[in-house]
Amino acid sequence: MQSAIPVLSLSIWLPIIGGLFVLASGDKVPGISRWTALGFSILTFLISLLLWTGFESDTAQMQFVEHATWIPGINAWYYLGVDGISMPLIVLTTFITILVVIAGWEVIQYKPSQYLAAFLMMEGVMIGVFSALDAVLFYVFWEAMLIPMFIIIGVWGGPNRVYATIKFFLYTFFGSVFMLVALIYMYFKSGSYSILDFQQLPLSLTEQVWIFLAFLAAFAVKVPMWPVHTWLPDAHVEAPTGGSVILAAIMLKIGGYGFLRFSLPITPDASATLDWLIIAMSLIAVVYIGFVALVQQDMKKLIAYSSIAHMGFVTLGFFIVFAIFNRPEAVGGAVLGMAGGMVQMVSHGFISAAMFLCVGVLYDRLHSREISTYGGVIHTMPVFGALMVFFAMANAGLPGTSGFVGEFMVILASFQADFWYAFLAATTLILGAAYTLWMVKRVVYGPVTSDQVAGLRDANGRELLVLGTLAVAVVALGVWPEPLVEVMDASIQHLAQHIAVSKLAAAPAAVAALP
């Protein structure tokens, strides 16, 4: 489906151009760069809403497709399009970016125009990742994403930012070079860089396993999955609040998106063969990381670990499908699991953003992320305290908030795969509540512990606007997830049907055809 106006191109390039404008406006009058950045982010959000309103949810076809010559020499195209899997993530990106711009309003005093420009460019690049249907284009966006984040952490980060940025960069870059090799290999096999062609490409099991592992290296680091997760707590701790928000709310989702767009449809047989590996890594993320989160003394680290545990649900939901296929009595669990993973990604986008913003609110006042610095915050910041308790409850998966929906769907689905998967996954009910609420107990409740806390001032209008908006989103998705589930449904059903069919039947002929 070709679209009349290039909505996707606009969503990608508008913020990037906006970023250049902001950069050019300089820091002499900070108001100009702030308002320009806000204007561009809101405009981008409005344009991305066209994707939602114009979306046809009864088809799994790519929509808003744009197809133009790019690098004819290697047959790489400027090929964009969205389906029910990528569209919600793009809207999430544009939504969160507005909040990040507002959240950094007065907080960032050092070179604010460059800070805001980095986020706007980041936004465009991330939308590019979600909408690219050409593997070269995807790869370019994918790597380009590292640069603004590298700068954001490296320039506006905390004292240990150099170690964190190097770790972040090397970790993620290490993973993605393997992906590049896999993409080039498939180009040689198919003569095309179209991701949709890759999905139809017949591959032998050995080829699939290698390609699968290459993708795994890239996506597992991004998600991040245990045991390649250790860059995340460091990056979060050093990143400025806005950086943490984008990192947690959007960048992690790109790993999850990669599994749905590449690993599962391109290498379904390898996914089926190695699903135990991903399931094991996911369950370890839920249980092991849950325990690790419990003992954190630094609020940002705690939330970072909680992110890893929640993302474990995403990958679990995606990879239990094969076990469900093998059980005739299980019906519909595959779709439920994958949709659950998707809902969990969107919901985590809201909740982790809110949690990091909450820590940011406290950090801006006392310049400490240590839990022990606080205590009794509710007495001086009652409105903020109430919001923080609310988001903590959402993080613990309370029904009625978005945090519940994805976890509920994945637990229901994983029961259909194996009782013990569900058993381990459901421990999050206890662990998630334990680490989140224990933090809340020590930070928000109790008597006022120090003069610093006694001198705190409640959240201001700007902070309340950001947190309040997220609270509304969390409740809306929790009370009525159908609109989101509905737009994804056709694409996810299509994906489930696609991966249920082995590629191996067609593969030997293809191998023979090779020179």
Binding site: V292, G332, V335, I378, L398, L412, F415, L437, W480
Partner: protein, 662 residues
């Protein structure tokens, strides 16, 4: 009709939102009026619905409100099922809640004293309290009126949330915020089982709608599920036990009971509302609602019965040694919940629900009366400092006495009918474990009477042990406090007599609660039932009555006639006393094993797993490895031309050799 049901649910929610978000603007009176009007409307309409079911003018309602989502072929709905069971629960919940709302006006009037000076959280605490208890009413109504497992779980967790907020209401107190975290986590342990039970239902029934699940249940009665290798469990037992683990959390059954006594850290009105009359009854309600499933698994019923009876007896014993007025009543609640659970295990669901109803009235009464005493005593809760209060608090005294008589099952009082029915039903039951349960429940009657009247005598009779200042200020509490006591005392006395026939032996629950014919102990009892008077006479000839009188007499002897004996018994049975005083060591074990163990495990994973193994060895290790290799390799780069020439020649030779030989 749907509009009426929606109003019943949404009126308290609206009140809660208004009082919560605009509490500062509408002020104290505005907050209590808006919430009382909301809950009052809810209560009136609930009574109207109940009346409709009593005179048969209302049909059972089962309908969806909206579709939450559709995924994986399952329709997740939000909707209501209103039948006789629901109507009864709605009436009880909204009535008790309304009484508590009114009472709270008096109890929380001076709440600013409970907050440190200058605390902004204490500024609108009065309004916030009303917002919470209204939110609780909404949650509980969502729970009981649900027609599906999803909404049931929503209500289930939402009451947990409100309970968390209310136990920790005085968030400046360390004990309160410890207790609320503990309550939430212990409930989550139960919910862990509950959600797995729901997942099992979703998998095998392909639906979460009660009607569809119950209709399909008989066909799946003999399904076995593979769990581990060749081990297989009966599907119905698995579902039954998993769901019941949830009930053990909410209804505070051993070993998940530990949160309930600590929940007394919250203000007294919520002890009455949440931790006696309603939230803790969610588990009982749920099992009764699921009777079509539970009837298919005798193993699950046995499990329920044994857990219930254990709780009923052993938690009652702890009540004997408590000195905090609210804690005595709290342990009594645990014990009574055990009775209800045991009744469910015996398939006497109606008796369990009946006891739930009578208990809701008299326990709310006892808690609120205890709260009245606490107000008069200036928030001293230690019964060793009380005594002789009947002179100063006549209305509280009489209502407390009526509540206590109902609790011990004095003939004619509401508790008599419900408790006697349970004991009789368990006695007749053939389910495994019924012998054990029967003995414990019968002995439990003695214990109940003993701790109840120990409390009663120590508080209202005997020597006045309070200090002069407190005595001087003792007086009956204001009307907003005592009027609810009187209004609760009326059903505490009469509701049993009025409804025993319909609820237990009539057809009130026909078609609502399903009992397999060979489990139907209430039908056997019904055969010998000839009116309330006969029931009372029959009860007075049976052992439980005499045990209750024995307990009462013993309490009178020990605490009125010969007080020295109490101290002597404490020393004489020192070990037993210490075991009871230590609450069988559950708290210590949980703190050491679960809290301490989790922290230890977390530290181990973090320090050893993440920091040493992954970061130390793999990540920084590989970085160092690269550095180490580079360090060695750079020595080759000498910069001398002849070194490079030699290397090139050697390389050429090696390559040529390889090509020639292969």
């Amino acid at each position: 009709m749907e509009n009426i049901y929606l109003t019943i649910v949404l009126a308290p929610l609206l009140g809660s939102i208004v009082a919560g978000f605009f509490g500062g603007r509408i002020g104290r009176a505005g907050a209590h009026w808006v919430t009382i009007l909301g809950v009052g409307l809810s209560c009136l309409l609930s009574l109207y619905v109940l009346k409709g079911f009593v005179d048969g003018s209302l049909p059972v309602f089962d309908g969806a409100v909206y579709t939450w989502m559709v995924s994986g072929g399952i329709q997740f709905e939000i909707g209501f099922l209103v039948d006789q069971l629901t109507a009864l629960m709605m009436a009880v919940v909204t009535f008790v809640s309304l009484m508590v709302h009114i009472y709270t006006i008096g109890y929380m009037a001076d709440d600013e004293h409970n907050w440190p000076k200058g605390s902004l959280a204490g500024k609108n605490s009065y309004q916030r309290f009303f917002s919470y208890i209204s939110l609780f009413t909404f949650s509980m109504l969502m729970l009981v009126m649900s027609n599906n497992f999803l909404q049931l779980f929503f209500g289930w967790e939402a009451v947990g949330l409100v309970s968390y907020l209310l136990i920790g209401f005085w968030s400046v107190r360390e004990t309160a915020i410890f207790a609320n975290l503990k309550a939430f986590l212990v409930n989550r342990v139960g919910d862990f089982g509950f959600i797995l039970g729901i997942a099992a239902v979703a998998m095998y029934f392909h639906s979460l709608d009660y009607r569809e699940v119950f209709a399909l249940a008989p066909q799946l009665a003999n399904v076995q599920i593979q769990v581990w290798g060749d081990t297989s469990w009966s599907l119905m037992t698995t579902i039954g036990v998993l769901l019941f683990i949830g009930a053990m959390g909410k209804s505070a059954q051993v070993p998940l009971h530990v949160w309930l006594p600590d929940s007394m850290e919250g203000p007294t009105p919520i002890s009455a509302l949440i931790h006696a009359a309603t939230m803790v009854t969610a588990g009982i309600f749920m099992v009764a609602r699921m009777s079509p499933l539970y009837e298919l698994s005798e193993t699950a019923l046995s499990f329920i019965m044994v857990i219930g009876a254990t709780t009923a007896f052993f938690m009652g014993l702890i009540g004997l040694v408590q000195n905090d007025i609210k804690r005595v009543v709290a342990y009594s609640t645990l014990s009574q919940l055990g009775y209800m659970i045991t009744a469910l295990g015996a398939s006497a669901y109606a008796a369990g629900i009946f006891h739930l109803m009578t208990h809701a009235f008299f326990k709310a009464l006892l808690f609120l009366a205890a709260g009245s005493v606490i107000i008069a005593m200036h928030h001293d809760q230690d019964i060793r400092n009380m005594g002789g209060l009947r002179k100063y608090l006549p209305i509280t005294w009489i209502t407390f006495l009526l509540g206590s008589l109902a609790l011990i099952g004095f003939p004619g009082f509401s508790g008599f009918f419900s408790k006697d029915a349970i004991i009789e039903a368990v006695h007749l039951s053939q389910v495994g474990g019924s012998g054990y349960a029967s003995i414990l429940l019968t002995l439990g009657v003695f214990v109940t009477a003993l701790y109840s009247f120990r409390l009663y005598f120590l508080v209202f009779h005997g020597q006045e042990r309070m200090d002069e200042h407190t005595r001087h200020h003792l007086h009956e509490t204001p009307a907003v406090v005592w009027v609810p006591l009187v209004l609760l005392a009326i059903p505490s006395v009469f509701i049993g007599w009025l409804s025993v026939e319909a609820v237990l032996f009539g057809d009130w629950f026909k078609g609502v609660i399903l009992v397999a014919p060979h489990h139907d102990v209430l039908a056997q009892m019904g055969a010998g039932y000839h009116g309330q008077a006969g029931f009372v006479l029959h009860g007075m000839l049976a052992l439980p009555f005499w045990l209750a009188m024995g307990g009462l007499a013993l309490a009178w002897y020990i605490y009125m006639v010969n007080p020295a004996i109490a101290a002597y018994l404490m020393v004489r049975f020192g070990t037993l006393y210490r075991i009871l005083d230590g609450k069988y060591g559950f708290d210590q074990m949980n703190m050491a094993l679960f809290a301490g163990g989790s922290r230890g495990l977390g530290k181990l994973f973090w320090k050893t797993g993440d920091q040493q193994l992954i970061d130390g060895t793999l990540i920084n290790g590989s970085a160092q490895g690269v550095g180490w290799i580079a360090e060695r390799l750079r020595t080759i780069q000498t910069g001398y031309l002849y070194h490079y020439a030699i290397a090139m020649i050697l390389g050429l030779v090696v390559l040529l050799t390889v090509f020639v030989t292969f």
